[in-house]
């Protein structure tokens, strides 16, 4: 199994398309960092909205590496699924299209092992994309903008997180984001089993993510109760929960706490359930599939 995983990782990281994700993320993160470096105040004013008229905003303090990382996560995590689907949707369909699938399946390796190796290789790729994003958006931003307390805008208030209480939250957030994006990877992987060309699974995955995201964002009471809690897209932004702190009786945030940890864990559980469902379905279907490509 370890040997198979190594083989699959070798193939993924020798494919030119794999590096599209890393290049695109680098470009997007650097563009945001440059924009904030030269015109960060305008952006802060924009996101604070009416709060800037009632509070004296210390722009120079707010615009630090942690804040920039939070902005980048908000902007980019919605778009990363496309980059994940690009590789995950190619895992089986790409092999079918190239004609290498028949050679793989005729080797003395069980189909379940082969699929598990492919899936775990996709998970490793997803984690590496997130690690790359974490490096650029957090480490590079800290290097360029320095560190200070993190200020997070909520609907009507500002959440202030002490600078020594931030780093573990980012680690948890990136960990959560890895699970969220692995759900997208698992969906693309499952769709890949049904296709003989990777375009179909990639486009289908993105279409499903878009439709589900729209449903998740719609404020319709009927959907709020019946559909939204079960859509994986409703839980993909659950990483934000790590940046909301519990408050004491006087409304002061308590350092080192998370406002609603059970909700974050429940969302993560739902995402893990989807991963098992998608990956399991892919294996079951592939085991019975006639390889005609």
């Amino acid at each position: 199994m370890w040997q198979l995983l190594q083989i699959e990782l070798f193939k993924i990281f020798r494919k030119p398309r794999t590096y599209i994700s890393f290049g695109a993320i680098a470009a997007m993160v650097i563009i945001v960092q440059v924009a904030l470096k030269f015109d960060g105040q305008s952006y802060i004013e924009f996101i604070l909205g009416s709060l800037k008229e009632t509070l004296d905003i210390p722009y120079a303090t707010i615009l630090n590496g942690y804040f920039v990382c939070f902005i980048i996560l908000n902007l980019l995590l919605i778009h990363i699924p496309l980059l994940i689907a690009l590789v995950a949707g190619d895992e089986v369909a790409g092999e079918a299209n190239m004609g290498t699938l028949r050679l793989l399946v005729s080797k003395p390796v069980s189909r379940t092992e082969l699929m598990l190796a492919k899936f775990f290789a996709t998970v490793v790729y997803t984690a590496m994309v997130l690690a790359w994003m974490a490096f650029l958006s957090l480490v590079l931003s800290i290097f360029v903008f320095g560190t200070n307390d993190l200020i997070v805008a909520r609907s009507n208030t500002l959440e202030i997180i002490g600078h020594n209480d931030v780093m573990w939250r980012y680690l948890a957030a990136f960990g959560y984001a890895t699970v969220a994006l692995t759900t997208v990877a698992a969906l693309a992987f499952m769709l890949s089993v049904f296709a003989e060309n990777s375009i179909g699974p990639i486009v289908s995955t993105i279409s499903i993510v878009i439709v589900f995201t729209i449903l998740s964002e719609m404020q319709i009471p009927l959907y709020d109760r019946t559909v939204k809690p079960y859509l994986f897209t409703s839980h993909m932004l659950g990483w934000k929960g790590f940046f909301y702190l519990k408050a004491d009786a006087e409304g002061v945030s308590i350092p080192g706490t998370i406002e609603n940890l059970p909700a974050v864990l429940r969302s993560m559980g739902i995402l893990l359930g989807y991963i098992v469902l998608f990956a399991g379905s892919a294996i079951v279907v592939f085991k019975k599939k006639d390889i005609l490509s």
């Binding site: 040997q3 198979l4 190594q6 083989i7 070798f10 193939k11 020798r14 494919k15 030119p16 190239m98 004609g99 290498t100 028949r102 050679l103 793989l104 399946v105 005729s106 080797k107 003395p108 390796v109 069980s110 019975k288 006639d290 390889i291 005609l292």
Partner: protein, 322 residues
């Protein structure tokens, strides 16, 4: 004594044993009730036109497709229950030798050697590439290879784990005359010198005739004829197509006569016999004695023509003309 019995058993061991194999894709019968066996060190020719069911059968042998009915045994083991064990002893090139184009020949070979459970050194892989004449291009990306080079790399991959059984599906497709000759020599080398059993499919009868020891002809998923090439190509034997006004009645009469054993095939309009050349005049006389109105009496003297007589479409003519 016990050793002698085991030895005799080994001598006649079938490497492949296929019984009553069928595959249905929705309403299409790709393979119907196909049975055949391949003995150790045979070069077994699997012959039929495009779409005859050769590739479907080969894919079933390699577990790419599951049969609708029937059983497959390789090396005396059931393919379903001993899949891994069996596939460790099988090397195959299935239709086109499609490989990872973004990897080099060396990397492709390394990857598939590892998948076959091997621990290999670079020298071993380069030696393998040397065998197929690709050592000097070992580090070139496969996307820069010609069709013939890809085919040779496919062969190197099929043989890297030293399999006992080699399955080659249409190995000469897309090759130039030199490539075809090289492939023919390689197959003969595998069989004669390395004592490997080779199952090779083709739609080219003349190619099969040159390399195969035994042969199976398949059409529309059904077995037409199987036998040793010497037997099938015996120059003393001939095939006769006899045209009659009422084929059904004529066939019934013949089936009760001594000529029944020579009857090969009956279809609308004519009856096909296989017999020794010096029996031709006797057959003609006996048909007259049996009151069978003969409208045509056409001896055909090759397996190719016989095959055409059985399937009789222009497509075959085109295929065999190559």
């Amino acid at each position: 004594m016990k050793q002698a019995v085991i030895y005799i058993h080994c001598l006649v061991m079938n490497v492949i044993n296929v019984s009553h194999l069928s595959k249905q894709f929705r309403d299409i019968n790709a393979v119907t009730d196909l049975s055949f066996s391949v003995q150790e060190a045979d070069v077994y020719g699997f012959l039929g036109q495009n779409g005859a069911g050769k590739s479907t059968t080969i894919r079933m042998l390699l577990t790419l497709i599951s049969p609708s009915e029937g059983e497959i045994e390789l090396f005396g083991m059931n393919l379903r229950s001993h899949r891994k064990e069996i596939l460790r002893q099988v090397g195959a090139v299935i239709e086109r030798p499609d490989l990872y184009k973004y990897l080099s020949a060396y990397e492709n070979l390394l990857l598939f050697a590892k998948m076959s459970g091997m621990r290999v050194r670079r020298k071993q892989l380069i030696d393998q590439l040397e065998m197929v004449g690709l050592a000097d291009r070992a580090d070139s990306k496969v996307r820069t290879y010609s069709q013939g080079m890809k085919q040779r790399l496919g062969i190197a991959i099929a043989l890297i784990h030293d399999p006992s059984l080699v399955i080659l599906d249409e190995p000469v497709n897309g090759l130039d005359p030199q490539g075809i000759a090289d492939m023919r020599n390689l197959i003969l080398h595998l069989s004669r010198h390395l004592k490997k059993t080779v199952l090779v499919s083709s739609h080219l009868l003349n190619e099969m005739e040159q390399i195969a020891t035994r042969m199976l002809i398949i059409d529309k998923g059904k077995k037409i004829i199987e036998g040793s090439v010497n037997e099938l190509f015996d120059p003393a034997k001939t095939i006769v197509e006899v045209g009659t006004a009422d084929t059904t009645e004529a066939a019934e009469i013949i089936s009760r006569s001594p000529w029944a054993s020579h009857l090969k095939h009956v279809q609308a309009g004519h009856i096909v016999f296989e017999l020794h050349k010096n029996q031709l005049s006797q057959l003609l006389k006996d048909l007259a004695i049996m009151n069978i109105a003969v409208t045509a009496f056409t001896p055909v003297n090759s397996l190719e023509k016989y095959f055409l007589s059985l399937t009789g479409t222009n497509q075959h003519v085109a295929a065999f003309a190559n």
